[in-house]
Symmetry: C2
């Protein structure tokens, strides 16, 4: 693998018998005031020599890198992964590359990641990591140095927030359960300190209130977005309120753990306990049983983040609170009308 040195535009130009600036015009430039014959010759030698433009040099003079940064959380949560992938593909569609950084599990290295991105002069940054809600250092860096769009609220504001309607998500899921006749409805939430958790919790309470039901505190158990956390929260719920007949889970990944815990506790889903979740990750329909869930437009969120960011980079004024994306209930087999206890 004797790797060839990169050939520069100067070498191409020399070989084609033109100045390197002329070669630049035909190879990468825009308005070509060059004869067809010369252009052909330059193109041919470039091809022959295996010329690849050096975007580093280009970036230096143009003061723009056509690169955006993406700071994502540890990717244990597939929902975030899906938004990230969609974002990268959308960025590429617009000719941009994506530099990623995944937070460490503690989530304390956000500022380091952002600093590295800034030093690489990314044109903008997308944040898809719940941990940043607490990270004032990240927030300040973003406000000060570079256009950004976030999927989570950033302390102090100043960074547009894209996403879906979380409160509506909680409301939809819960009223679905109510509509099926359930009244002892528990919920396995995300971490309480997260906005999305509080919003979904509000939606849950909205629905209960509208049905004239109360929210006893012991029907709410805090999870951590992981299957393991979902399972633990479910065990707690079952212990505190054995009569529970339905659970609203704040994410599909946790729902895996919820279903698992229910299964081990000998409760059948949906006959004994109905489960509704949110996200609609791609394999929700392959869980056992197939999961009823509120679909959150993950990929679209990622794409919207990129579109907004690119507009912001282009100098356009973007609203700090763009319209929330709509959510939709997908009914599968994990929910069913409440069975009257036959004994």
């Amino acid at each position: 693998m004797a790797r060839r040195r990169y050939v520069s535009i100067k070498e191409v130009a020399a070989r084609a018998g033109v100045s390197f600036q002329t070669a630049s015009k035909v190879l990468n430039g825009s308005d070509v005031r060059v004869s067809a014959e010369t252009a052909r010759r330059i193109l041919a030698t470039a091809e022959e020599l295996g010329y690849r433009p050096n975007t580093i040099a280009r970036s230096l003079v143009q003061r723009t890198t056509a690169t955006i940064g993406l700071v994502a959380s540890d990717a244990t949560d597939i929902a975030i992964t899906h938004a990230s992938v969609a974002a990268e593909q959308e960025a590429r569609r617009h000719g941009h590359s994506v530099l990623v950084g995944h937070l460490a599990v503690g989530g304390t290295d956000g500022a380091d990641i952002v600093r590295a991105l800034i030093e690489r002069r990314v044109d903008g940054i997308i944040v898809a990591a719940p941990e940043v809600e607490e990270d004032t250092e990240v927030a300040e860096l973003l406000r000060k140095y570079v256009p950004a769009v976030s999927l989570q609220a950033v302390p102090g504001g100043g960074v547009p927030l894209v996403g879906s309607n979380h409160r509506e998500t909680g409301r939809l899921a819960t009223s679905h359960l109510i509509g099926l006749g359930h009244s002892a409805i528990g919920t396995v939430t995300g971490p309480f300190r997260r906005r999305v958790t509080r919003s979904r919790l509000h939606g849950y309470e909205d629905a209960l209130r509208a049905a004239g039901l109360e929210t006893p505190e012991d029907l709410v158990a805090e999870g951590d977005w992981t299957p393991g956390g979902g399972a633990a929260a479910t065990r707690l719920l079952l212990e505190r309120s054995p009569a529970i007949t339905a659970i609203f889970v704040h994410s599909d990944m946790m729902a895996l753990g919820v279903l698992s815990a229910l299964f081990r506790a000998g409760r059948r889903v949906p006959q004994d306990v109905a489960v509704v979740s949110c996200d609609d990750i791609p394999f929700a329909e392959y869980m056992t049983p197939p999961l009823t869930t509120v679909r959150v437009p993950l990929a679209e969120t990622g794409r919207q983040a990129v579109d907004l960011l690119l507009r912001s980079i282009a100098g356009e004024q973007v609203p700090e609170k763009p319209p929330l994306l709509p959510v939709e209930l997908i009914v599968r087999a994990s929910t069913a009308p409440r069975e009257r206890t036959s004994e």
Copy 2:
């Protein structure tokens, strides 16, 4: 958000009353032949002005970007995602950034992604996308322009291949089933054109042969790494060989679909059909039932890829076939001794 212009080292130097080259020495350089007082002053004004080094300019002169490219597949497969994330974190630990590109679903844009990475002058490329096994264009670009390490074999060779022992994986899983008394053992594979599929299939056959069993062709059903594909393959298997009592699945993601299809067909796992898979993705233990699976060191594979790549970038000669990483059977509840049909 009146974004501040980036301040250059020249401005810092001017304000501190030194030449910009001197400022460069203390801010980014190595051997500082500068008085403590001057250094302090430069550092202070840099801080005051919010100076961030421009690595683009640095890269241009040093002819190295401290950036590696990662081409990954569409990330429907969580196993690949996990390797990617680990790779990124390992790279960052070594001071490198990561530029990612996710293949489109068809997987035909690999060369475009690689070209973009090359033009951005990444120091090396890691490939984590099964689709490249067919992509001679990608292989040629890698061989010609940039050090690379792949998690999948690349046509024509020349790119070191990291990974685990796939044949052993198939053997371990299958002989586990045999040890439990099963003999009608089917398998849901990955796409046949993939090496990993063929290796795991060989392991499966090795184990069967060692036990004196045959491999009727209708016990093998091809999947596509997705849960949906796994479910479809399972239905096929059930239809062709209703007497089947065990299934070896080539990935945990497909196992989701296998469990789902079995559940819908009314077959209990593990009592009626035992299921063993491979990967051990993080939520394998939360499937219903918890999945017996052969653990593949995903994160370690990602890290090894980076380490090898960095060594290759440093000019070290790396073997094209580094030792395969070991795999390990994790027994959970989806497998059990074969029940003698009691009727």
